[in-house]
Symmetry: C2
Subunit: 113 residues, 2 copies
DNA sequence: TGTTCACATGAATATATGTTCATATGTCTA
DNA sequence: TAGACATATGAACATATATTCATGTGAACA
């Protein structure tokens, strides 16, 4: 809040008050922006979209998306920690799938922008 | 595509083919992810939300959101270049507003995640 | 015409983030 | 039980991105 710019007289206090009242609290915008940040990566979007089509193991995702196994694992960890994906273990493999379709629905919404 | 992992036999070729056919092309995911990346910043989300409430000048945004004038200007430039906001000049001031409500609608969709 | 105001912008800086590399873990099989 | 396979993960590295700082631009005004 720099005092060098914008004297009080030049501000429309009524507008500031109106907007301030209408806006949500900071936690709201922190949550929303962090959700979008997770969707703001090319490879994560592709992983989510792939899993929306079919449950897959790390190895299959790696081949399908032409990414290293390590990179896929790192990204899946992020998606796991944010409850976007779930997994089940079968023998040596770990099969991942979308936790629910909400996140994919949001991606489809973003399509129209 | 590392050849050290995942022999052909362990992959389900039918699944890979199915998913590969269902998925969009890379340009699609690049566009979507870059859109979400723009929404993946706390201050940009707040700017968009504020402008959804009311047209405002840089100075007012700066005070309202407790950000420096420079930072607001830089972020507005990004939003401008991506056609999220429009502006009009009046005397010494520049008033910004949302170009359309699509982007705000998307933010509201993200609320439920 | 010089000064103030409002905003824009380039450069520098700091930080966040994604990938790679090396390695650890756990499971299955010969 | 040794080795291959599938995945996870920490550290290092490279890159992207947001903010600050300094300064430039243009309009109003005395």
């Amino acid at each position: 809040m720099s005092s060098e710019v914008c004297e009080i007289k030049s501000l429309r206090q009524d507008v500031l008050e109106k907007v301030s009242n209408e806006m949500e609290d900071n936690e709201f915008y922190e949550k929303i922006s962090s959700t979008f940040k997770l969707l703001g990566d090319y490879n994560r979007i592709r992983i989510i979209s792939a899993l929306h089509c079919h449950e897959m193991c790390v190895c299959e995702l790696s081949i399908l998306l032409d990414m290293s196994q390590s990179s896929i694992s790192h990204q899946l960890r992020i998606l796991r920690h944010n409850n976007f994906v779930k997994y089940r273990k079968e023998d040596k493999k770990v099969f991942y799938s979308l936790n629910n379709s909400q996140i994919y629905d949001l991606i489809k919404e973003g399509e129209s922008i």
